[in-house]
């Protein structure tokens, strides 16, 4: 009964606060409803991206302005709409509530809580925003540590970079992204995981993983599942970016993971085909490139003059049969500043993360790499490249000269060292230490299958005996001669 009284009071308060206002509204009539898209006559003065309201209270936004009618994407249940009913324009551009209050929560693309909580946000941000211009930007200089040895050493990512994660299904694309989020703990980076057209079970699993690693404190999950309408799936990456931009505008570093943009392109294809826009290659509309380029262009690093901050984007693309030459993969590859190419064969051979080092690149991350990492990664890259070129033809020849054998041995050991268990992220010092041991040839004498054992022992002793060393390297991000000598002692004692 108490609850009911409270409810009545609330309604009374709301009613009392508003006097009868005479407002001119812009209206139209619903004439056609297709899957998730409505066509309305009237609404002569509506604009692109305007939020409209149907009589049932469901909202939509204008996505197409035709000569005498408008195309509206319905956000929510379109089955309740009736032809002939009224559509009212709100005069507002499509926007969503943003703020610190969202941290640690799971929200839908309009930032309504999916846990049925009332999130008291104060600000609204437009879902679509023109990316920052050239004057506001500066190049990437600060690394975004993923905590994954192979990436941080060979394909480094910088804050403000756009690095594509591409690969077939079940090659560990999401795991790479999740590990990166887990590794941002205590690094002052706000993380946003945007699930587009994912299975709800998978999203739940991701959230559980993040929670169990204590990563939800600085993470927001924006989710539009496979059962949500195409409109919501289409919006969710833009919403996630808008939420990220709120933190960016406060000079913070933000990481946004888009999982995955293939399904985003599918959702947009569905909407476009319903709107009868001309279909192009693979039935995608002509502006499918712009769809992703305007999204990823919003990733940036702002100069200190304009407040600093950065927005790093990790889009994910799922390929079929390793075909990176398909339409959407080539589009996104050309937009981003590099890609991490994950392969099924490597994954099945036990190379996890299954990163194909030869095909993966990072176009700008190198300049952001720390000095400590640079000092070991150069040698590592060389070793691996030689190994790759020799490994292919060495299979046919039985007697190899000593030098070739040494290259092959070193390569095999380095490949072993780059393996890493999922959700087991390394700090910079740990990464540098183990890679240094491999690059300097300390592991050459070990048997290949003993490397993993050595590594776990080495990391253990590093965390106990080498505590001060780790602290120093993590803080200074540089390794001088004294540090190297100390490290050598540690490696030798573990061997």
């Amino acid at each position: 009964m108490k609850l009911f009284d409270q409810y009545l009071k609330e309604v009374e308060k709301e009613l009392g606060s508003k006097k009868t206002q005479v407002k001119t509204a812009e209206v139209g009539t619903l004439v056609e409803i297709k899957d998730g898209v409505a066509i309305a006559m009237g609404l002569d003065n509506s604009f692109y991206g305007e939020l409209v309201e149907f009589t049932s209270g469901v909202q939509g936004f204008v996505i197409e302005l035709m000569e005498d009618s408008v195309g509206i994407v319905v956000l929510g249940d379109y089955l309740t709409l009736e032809a002939g009913s009224r559509v009212t324009a709100t005069g507002k551009i499509l926007s969503l509530p943003v703020g610190e209050e969202l941290l640690g929560h799971v929200v839908d693309p309009l930032s309504a809580s999916l846990e049925n909580l009332k999130l008291k946000t104060k600000k609204r941000y437009p879902i679509e925003r023109i990316a920052s211009g050239v004057v506001y930007r500066k190049s990437v200089t600060v690394p975004l540590q993923t905590g994954i040895k192979a990436i941080d050493a060979l394909i480094p990512i910088g804050r403000g970079q756009r690095e594509l994660i591409i690969g077939d299904r079940t090659t560990g694309k999401t795991t790479v992204a999740i590990d990166t989020i887990i590794n941002q703990k205590g690094k002052d980076v706000i993380c946003i995981y945007c699930a587009i057209g994912q299975k709800n079970a998978k999203v739940a699993q991701v959230i559980e993983t993040l929670r169990s690693h204590g990563a939800m404190d600085y993470t927001i999950v924006v989710s539009s599942s496979a059962s949500d309408s195409a409109a919501l799936q289409y919006l969710s990456p833009y919403s996630a970016t808008a939420i990220g931009e709120y933190f960016l505008d406060q000079g913070k570093d933000v990481l946004v993971v888009y999982d995955d943009l293939t399904k985003h392109a599918w959702a947009y294809r569905q909407i476009s085909l319903i709107l009868r826009r001309p279909a192009g290659r693979e039935a995608y509309p002509g502006d499918v490139f712009y769809l992703h380029s305007r999204l990823l262009e919003r990733a940036c690093r702002i100069t200190d003059e304009f407040g600093g901050g950065s927005l790093t984007a990790l889009p994910i693309i799922e390929t079929l049969d390793n075909d990176i030459a398909a339409y959407i993969p080539t589009n996104v590859i050309s937009i981003t500043d590099g890609q991490l190419f994950l392969e099924t064969d490597l994954f099945n051979n036990g190379v996890r993360p299954a990163i194909n080092v030869g095909n993966s690149v990072s176009r700008v991350g190198g300049s952001a790499q720390t000095k400590a990492m640079k000092s070991v990664s150069g040698r590592l890259k060389l070793d691996l490249a030689q190994y790759r070129s020799l490994a292919a033809f060495s299979q046919f020849e039985s007697d190899l000269d000593a030098e070739t054998k040494q290259f092959l041995n070193r390569g095999a050991k380095t490949t072993q060292v780059l393996k890493q268990n999922k959700h087991d992220v390394y700090s910079l010092a740990e990464e540098v230490a183990i890679l240094w041991a491999a690059a300097k040839g300390h592991l050459d004498s070990l048997e290949t299958d003993k490397i993993v054992e050595f590594e776990s022992k080495f990391i253990d002793s590093l965390r106990t005996k080498g505590k001060d060393w780790m602290k120093r390297v993590n803080a200074n991000k540089i390794m001088d001669e004294k540090d190297e000598k100390e490290l050598e002692k540690l490696v030798k004692s573990t061997l």
Binding site: V11, L15, V22, K23, G42, D68
Partner: protein, 94 residues
């Protein structure tokens, strides 16, 4: 049957002209037919109506009050709309 392009153009022109004409007209929707004195009363409140031709439509669903419509612009002063707002509000407050 194929319509010749010339005819299409003419048809389009005709419809656009008709549409323009209709957009200039003002429609007042009410729950019952309005008398001329009532329309005059509305004109007094909304002076912009004086110059336009006024149609009166009847829609019992409004219950009371009226809606003024010109083109895609609309002023809704019906009881129906206020009740709908109340309904929405009571849902939101929950």
């Amino acid at each position: 049957m194929k319509i010749s392009s010339l005819m299409k153009e003419e048809l389009k022109k005709h419809f656009l002209a008709k549409l323009k004409q209709r957009n200039d007209e003002v429609t007042i929707v009410s729950a019952y037919p309005l008398s001329s004195s009532e329309i005059e009363g509305i004109k007094k409140i909304v002076p912009d109506l004086k110059l336009s031709k006024i149609n009166n439509e009847v829609d019992e669903k409004l219950i009371a009050g009226y809606i003024i419509r010109k083109g895609s612009k609309m002023i809704d002063l019906s009881l129906q709309q206020r009740l709908a707002k109340l309904q929405q509000l009571s849902h939101e407050a929950l």
